[in-house]
């Protein structure tokens, strides 16, 4: 401000600056939303026309150039279930330990550091690790097991963090009530705390599914990319994201590429919508 103090021109200048600044803030928010609409819109507009029941129920032909993505959808679900069955119990147990048992100290700091670090590791590093550890060292080859275990590690931090938040939100009085009735600590957790935190915990699990479905780099070097139904957990397979990556980078078929992208986007939309619903439900309870 000028030395002459508050004059009408300096007030005008402040007003003008505020207008410009707020216009920038509005623009930032609008750009963010427009970018989202542009990306989702581009995929849906180009893809919906190529979608059909046949595309979802037929096998890929000519390396995915023709035909549908039936076995690819099944492989994706297979891999998501495999990693969840392992990651969800471990993640929830870890969260219970961190919230209900661990006392603040170096041990808990190290565990938290581990979880944070795991969350920050890029997927290509998970891919390298999964390849050298599960595929080569443990001789699991390119398989659902190698892919599933790699993804388990990847989604663990999401599940732990969300479950931790959910468990922390359960009011202390619930626990005190249960303990006062003579229940043991574990009975209290199992019968009172966990049921109260269920929808919050489920949110993390669903976000984990989202990560598995969208993952490419960590999957392609562990579960492989071969077409066909994996008829056992020791067989390789190709997920939707990997399929889309291969179609897009090899320019095989625009129609099938967009149709696959559309199925992928719709899956992600459903997952996000469900997670949001669950959070709202949890917040209300």
């Amino acid at each position: 401000m000028t030395e002459s103090g508050i004059t009408s021109s300096s007030v005008n200048k402040i007003r003008k600056n505020e207008k410009i600044a707020f216009a920038f803030l509005w623009a930032s928010a609008i750009i963010t939303v427009l970018v989202l609409i542009a990306i989702v819109g581009n995929v849906l507009l180009n893809g919906v026309g190529h979608l059909s029941i046949e595309f979802l129920t037929r096998e890929p032909e000519n390396m995915g150039k023709d035909g549908g993505i039936f076995s690819i959808i099944i492989t994706t679900i297979y891999l998501a279930l495999f990693s969840l069955i392992i990651a969800a119990p471990i993640g929830i147990c870890a969260a219970i330990f961190l919230t209900e048992y661990a006392k603040e100290g170096p041990a808990i700091k190290i565990i938290r550091f581990g979880t944070e670090s795991l969350a920050g590791i890029p997927s290509i590093i998970f891919g390298l690790f999964g390849y050298v550890f599960f595929v080569v060292f443990l001789k699991f080859r390119y398989s659902m097991v190698s892919g599933g275990l790699t993804l388990t590690l990847m989604i663990l931090p999401t599940i732990i963090r969300t479950a931790e938040e959910a468990i922390k939100m359960v009011p202390m009085s619930y626990r005190e009530g249960s303990l006062a009735l003579g229940a043991t600590k574990w009975q209290t957790i199992y019968k009172v705390v966990l049921p109260a935190a269920t929808s919050g915990i489920l949110t993390g699990v669903i976000l984990g599914i989202g990560r598995v479905v969208g993952e490419t780099a960590a999957v392609i070097y562990t579960a492989g990319s071969s077409l066909g139904l994996p008829n056992s957990i020791w067989r390789p397979g190709r997920t939707m994201s990997v399929h889309l990556y291969i179609l897009a980078s090899e320019g095989l078929s625009k129609g099938n590429m967009y149709a696959t992208a559309t199925v992928l986007i719709i899956t992600v939309l459903i997952i996000n919508f469900t997670a949001n619903k669950l959070i709202k439900q949890f917040m209300k309870a």
Partner: protein, 282 residues
């Protein structure tokens, strides 16, 4: 009953340390696999070598280090102002109804798989650059634009919660001294939330450096030094992602060695972000 409770506690503890075991295993196996090449080439020559020619057993990743840094820097230049702007908007200006539309949008942006971003880059951004600048389109610029979008959710979420954690007293005191709303934001609220905002930017930077698939699809991947933002470029992640499919023997170990360098970058960024308090008073 006591023994039963103890057994359960042990099981919970084991679950809790699996994440840290995972980090240890990952670190060990990546280093173990990549170290032989670094030892053979020499750490300094590996990091500063200008030439990457696996068929001649020449492994220098300097162009890829520069590639990763330049693409990331571009993403930050484009993404940080919009990200912080959007965070300030959500925390200070947006009415609940508008925030209720934007917030789920940001969650969705965070949930979109990287291949979809890569696809959008490939079919929209690369052709646009090709048309405007009359070049091949696959470039640093294409990578920076797509990564800028991809890091928005991280920057917005961390910054917004930092801004929201600034006590209301600060703002009220500033307003009552006669400052305008914008002056309060600029001179009081944002500076108070500074460390959280910086943490958000660092986390976004980590995400940009670590991104693989979206980047591979749009930056051209030639392992040479980029001359300008319109040149094709290869990143550290791209180096691994492009060649992992067919590499074997020493060549494959050289990719793990690239992974070590990437891993060190990411760990340094994450540790820095973790050390910075993300909310006021933390």
């Amino acid at each position: 009953m006591k023994a039963y409770e103890r057994a359960i506690q042990l099981m919970l503890f084991i679950s809790a340390i699996i994440a840290i075991l995972g980090v240890i295993l990952i670190t060990y196996f990546i280093i173990n696999e990549g170290y032989p090449v670094i030892r053979k080439v020499g750490l300094w020559d590996f990091l500063t070598g200008q030439k990457w020619a696996p068929t001649q057993e020449i492994y220098g990743i300097y162009p890829m280090i520069v590639g990763s840094l330049i693409v990331t820097a571009g993403a930050l230049i484009l993404g940080v102002p919009i990200g912080i702007g959007c965070a300030v908007f959500l925390a200070e200006l947006a009415k609940p109804k508008i925030a209720g539309i934007i917030k789920p949008g940001i969650e969705l942006l965070a949930g979109i798989p990287s291949v979809i971003y890569g696809l959008y880059g490939l079919v929209v951004i690369v052709p646009t650059i090709r048309k405007v600048f009359n070049n091949q389109g696959f470039s640093v610029l294409a990578g920076s634009i797509v990564l800028a979008i991809m890091i928005l959710p991280t920057i917005i979420n961390v910054s917004e919660s930092a801004i929201r954690s600034v006590p209301l007293d600060y703002k009220e005191a500033s307003l009552s001294l006669g400052s305008s709303h914008w002056q309060s934001i600029k001179n009081v609220i944002v500076p108070a939330a500074r460390s959280g905002i910086i943490a958000g930017v660092i986390l976004g930077m980590g995400r940009a450096i670590g991104e693989t698939m979206a980047v591979i699809m749009i930056v051209g991947n030639s392992p040479i030094m980029p001359k300008s933002i319109l040149s094709p470029v290869r990143t550290l992640t791209g180096n691994i992602g492009i060649e992992m499919g067919y590499a074997s023997g020493e060549h494959q170990q050289a990719l793990f060695a690239t992974g070590i360098v990437l891993f060190v970058f990411i760990m340094l960024l994450n540790i820095t972000a973790n050390l910075i308090p993300k909310k006021v008073g933390e």
